[in-house]
Symmetry: C2
Subunit: 242 residues, 2 copies
């Protein structure tokens, strides 16, 4: 029996791969967070929905597994890529002990890539993706990762920079970054990537510290080479003769 | 005038987003490395090609810019994502001083995501993408980035782990990683991601050191939490109650 874990990209149907659309077409049952299911509504006609709220991931994935065990062809949907802060890892965990379920992960465009494209090309070279949510990762681990990434001169895509409960995480992270990187380091923010109301802002690391963000924003921190070219955020790869 | 920089994903047409296909349809001139153009051959009928070899990137992007300045609608193609080790950064550089060219970057599925999906879900949490090619980045910088990523307990996707000229880079990087991480750290390799002949191997960090790789392979190094579940490489996100 087949179970798909599908990354739908940042926004609606247009940002899905053809492979993701075709995998979804084969399914009769689709599990996902309500907001993400709504983004691809036109593709879900006639399919059963397993819909749970945010932070009910284990429940949702267990229900998807049970539907697969009953013989349904099931898709579990993640926004962005299914593997990056998505449901793929959890599906392998809840399906451990059920080798009869064949899990196929269908990758998608993650926010680092989609948001980077809106800003310009901030992640041209080596980079790190780090989530500032401490729901599942201890805050000390997050702080250490941010510091290590900056010490390695990696550009950074910061996922989940804030929530209603966590309002000062970005500020605390900027203070760590400012220990290592100059205050004029080029940074960028993208809100509503690939969705209605998409907009981006360029700023500096010093200013980023005091910029309000929300959970619909992805933050990009440049490295020593990152610059602004024609109003966009660009980390040059280093080609000679440009 | 419009110039698209399009990430086509790892393989053929099926791995492109609908948005990428539609952007390509609008173009009458397509620039890219020959191998990548061949992967999407069916979409290029009737379009002029600007085709140069590998390592002729500046020449190719300059020709694409000049075609745009002549009034053509041009697409520059990258494998994977256009921003991650792709052509987007260079296009902004060669178009600096030409504000009349409107560059739209169309993101794609990068090898970290596409290869991760083949392996399971190695990059579920925070991760770094690091290229082992020292053509454009000094080797000392690459070594430092690898060390910092390991010290931050970041999972790592290693792009370009070898070429004909660079045969020992992966070995040298494994020696650095083994300073920080245990030899039994779960690792994975994926060759020909999303293309004919795709195959993956799971291994350990100790064994990875002596595994031959080539330029068609992407290497994944787990962190302290990464494990093998049902024959796949999985970094659990940390959900309770699984």
């Amino acid at each position: 029996m087949k179970l798909y874990v599908i990354g739908i990209g940042p926004g609606g149907e247009e940002q899905m791969t053809l492979r993701a659309v075709r995998a979804l077409e084969k399914c009769d049952c689709v599990a996902g967070y309500g907001l993400y299911l709504d983004l691809i509504e036109p593709l879900l006609a006639g399919k059963e929905r397993i819909q749970t709220g945010m932070m009910r991931e284990v429940e949702r994935c267990t229900a998807a597994r049970d539907a697969a065990l009953e013989g349904r062809t099931v898709a579990v949907i993640s926004s962005g890529d299914a593997g990056v802060y998505g449901m793929a890892g959890l599906m392998f965990e809840v399906c451990a002990g059920h080798p009869e379920i064949d899990i196929e992960v269908v990758p998608g465009v993650t926010a680092a890539c989609a948001g980077g494209a809106v800003l310009g090309s901030p992640l041209t070279c080596d980079f790190a993706a780090i989530s500032l949510s401490d729901l599942l990762t201890p805050w000390e681990t997050i702080e250490k990762r941010v510091r290590c990434a900056a010490e390695g001169d990696l550009c950074i895509a910061l996922y989940n920079p804030a929530s209603k409960r966590r309002t000062d995480h970005l500020q605390r992270v900027c203070d760590i970054l400012l220990d290592v990187q100059p205050p004029e380091t080029v940074c960028g923010l993208v809100r509503n990537i690939g969705r209605e109301g998409e907009r981006f802002t360029l700023t500096t690391l010093a200013q980023l510290r005091d910029t309000p963000v929300d959970m619909l924003t992805t933050v990009f921190v440049g490295n020593r080479s990152t610059k602004v070219i024609g109003g966009r955020m660009v980390t040059p790869r280093g080609y000679r003769g440009v």
